[in-house]
Amino acid sequence: MSDPQPAESAKAETAATPPSPPPKAEPTKTHLVADFDAGSPLISCRCDPSGRFVFAGGQNSAIVRFSLADGLRTDLLGHQSWVRGLAFDPSGETLYSGDYAGRLLLWPAADESPKPRQTIEAHDGWVRGVAVSPDGTLLATCGNDRLVKLWSTAEMKPVRELSGHESHVYNVAFHPDGKSLVSADLKGVLRHWDVASGNEVRQLDAGKLHKYDGGFRADIGGIRGMNFRADGHRLAASGITNVSNAFAGVGNPAVVLFDWKTGKEIRILLSKAGHRGTAWSVDFHPDGFLVGLSSGGGAFLLFWKEDQPKEFHQFKLSQNARDADLHPDALRIAVAHYDGHLRLYEMREKPPDAKPEAKKETAG
């Protein structure tokens, strides 16, 4: 960690945060509260269920773990390629990480110096998405072999292989009821699977997040972020839309919001300013709004209400970023930045005596 001061700030605030009742998030008050140096451009991040740690995957193929209490950085070494897929069992004891070499690694997430507990050759080609079922008994992985795989977490044995996608599978998510699974691919095809039988139930259309660029003769898009609302009635898928130049990344970050019961799109969520880039992540906040990370031509945290197509607030980030995750306290957002820093932003009034972290971040 190169900058202990914000970490100290994080430590103090984490320690002081009362477990109940949680303070209400105020997106319009979002500000930087911690800045950790990961040493390599970051591509992914996830907060563990306990909220003690944030894990981030870097371009150096390492996973870095930051303790939010004291800012301590621990490197998890074992992958031979980039890690985009990160997930935890409900207890937070085990971290599952999938890399672009097709491997799945299991880690004792909270150990002082985690070493891989198990390595599995999970997919032929990139592992892009990893998700754990709500009860923790199943793990779902997906990747460039166009497959979705279910594994029993008890034995880490393959349970089922779900085939049908016709392009790389970018993301996977369990429904909160644990009975359904959704996988999403490059072409914006979302497949709803029955977990028990492995049968495909239906398809949902997020084709707006894909384009075949005839000029460059290549596909662009894919579902970069995907999450269910806690009650399971809504599903959000994020990516890029309105692409006019695939190879320059000229398009708009977007989230397609689905009604889970009907499988129909409710609306597409965009930015007021027509930002350029991709929506790399999307989360439902328990207070009833969505938060997404947009990065490309500048980076922003975008806050949407479900019934409005444009954000009600945006927070400009000083550096481009590739992933974000809502902390379990529902107040903080971890962001994996391109400049190799993992930053934590808080949706609360900045304390009057707070140090000018945002300024520090810009300097970094």
Binding site: Q59, Q80, F216, F247
Partner: protein
């Protein structure tokens, strides 16, 4: 108004190799000098050698780090691993597993520094071996091949470009060699446009029209023959011959199993057509694979593009070898430049002419050779730096031309290749 040859000399006027055989074969475009045009015996020998060229043009700028010069585990290496090849100790990107098995038939040049990051200028360097100059335009390699390797009496064009897009004819590719050596473009692999006799025109009517046109042209040429009228006449004859041999361009005549082997995508079809054209003796076939200009999502796009390229290209190389054509076919895989070692915030790589790679093979090139080296993370050439000029010299020498020979243009000598560069002798048998 009378059109004039570039130099206006009567020697030039009678020296032009003509498609119709109206004039004597194998004499040069200019008198004086030591131009290769003055060596008809050599020209004939080259024509008879059956040597030809195949260029795969990776449009937009293939990433050397995702192909020929991977740097896994470094800050610039990206997510892909390297894999072993058929050449012990030589590794290439895991995105090229089929090509890896053919590497003993190919050579890698890993030390190109063209000092050019502009698409147009980079392409010019790689196709002509020179930087652009305001005073003169240089012919592309394909046009040079058409000029010197195509049989004198071959009715088919000497330089064919298969590319996505529309049909056409690129006379500018040939520069001072003359428009007839320019590339005939088969857009999307389709036969040349308007190469079928209109249904309303009977064969007899067509023949009569042709005779009438020839008579008028001959009478006109007796007093007012110019380069333009000659090219005009040539284009008619070429069009007629193209119509007669249209089936040459029809890839559907190839066995269905080959269509499957090459891949059912456009690039597969185009490379199978390239094989067909090379077998028919076309002097230079260029196939463009598009596109690699990956400022955004470099890695996803290279997966997509190279998965098309790899199997198809490897199949083509294997076929050329098995059919005995690789010994006489110079194969090159080029781009206008490589891509930056630095990975940008959009997972892209940008233009990079400073340290990148290409492939050359066949026609006496030492298979399995690796020329040059970049540093650990690919940001600099550290051994055997070469330019587009070195490569151009090497191409010419590989097919039997003296790359240090000269053209004579407007009365002044013009070296065939950049006089500041040399052939890469280590590559040549």
């Amino acid at each position: 108004m009378r059109c004039r040859y570039a130099c206006g000399s009567p020697e030039h006027m009678i020296a032009r190799r003509t498609f119709l055989g109206v004039l004597g074969a194998g004499v040069g475009m200019a008198a004086g000098g030591s131009g290769p045009f003055l060596r008809p015996a050599m020209a004939r020998q080259l024509e008879q050698s059956g040597r030809r060229m195949l260029t795969i043009y990776m449009a937009g700028g293939l990433s050397q780090l995702e192909s020929w010069d991977p740097k896994p585990g470094t800050d610039t290496g990206g997510p892909f691993r390297s894999i072993a090849t058929s050449v012990p100790g030589v590794r290439i990107s895991e995105l090229l597993p089929y090509t890896a098995r053919q590497l003993h038939r190919l050579a890698l040049v890993r030390s190109i520094n063209t000092k050019e990051n502009d698409h147009g200028k980079g392409r010019y360097i790689m196709e002509t071996g020179r930087r652009q100059e305001p005073s003169i335009d240089y012919p592309q390699l394909g046009a040079v091949a058409a000029k010197f390797l195509a049989p004198e009496d071959d009715p088919l064009p000497g330089y064919i470009h298969i590319t996505p897009g529309g049909n056409g004819f690129s006379k500018q590719d040939a520069a001072f060699l003359g428009p007839k050596y320019g590339a005939v473009t088969l857009g999307n692999g389709k036969p040349p446009s308007n190469s079928v006799r209109p249904e309303k025109l009977s064969e007899t009517e067509e023949v009569n029209r042709q005779h009438l046109r020839e008579q008028i042209s001959q009478r006109f040429n007796l007093r007012r023959r110019t380069a333009q009228t000659e090219a005009y006449t040539y284009s008619y004859e070429q069009a007629r011959q193209l119509m007669l041999q249209r089936s040459v361009f029809d890839v559907s005549n190839e066995p269905p199993k080959d269509l499957e082997r090459y891949g059912t995508h456009d690039f597969g079809r185009h490379c199978l057509l390239a094989r067909r054209l090379l077998e028919k003796g076309i002097a230079c076939v260029k196939v463009t694979h598009s596109n690699y200009d990956t400022h955004h999502e470099n890695f996803n796009f290279h997966i997509e593009q190279l998965s098309e390229f790899d199997r198809t290209f490897a199949t083509l190389i294997e076929d050329l070898a098995e059919r005995g054509l690789l010994d006489t076919t110079l194969v090159t895989v080029i781009s206008e430049f490589g891509r930056t070692p630095r990975i940008n915030h959009q997972f892209g790589r940008d233009h990079w002419g400073k340290a990148w790679s290409s492939v050359i093979g066949g026609c006496g090139i030492h298979g399995g050779a690796v020329i040059g080296k970049t540093n650990d993370n690919g940001t600099e050439v550290v051994d055997r730096e070469v330019s587009g000029g070195h490569l151009f010299h090497t191409y010419l020498k590989a097919v039997g031309l003296n790359s240090k020979d000269e053209y004579t243009v407007n009365g002044r000598p013009v070296p065939m290749a950049d006089p500041e560069a040399e052939p890469i002798e280590e590559l040549l048998s």
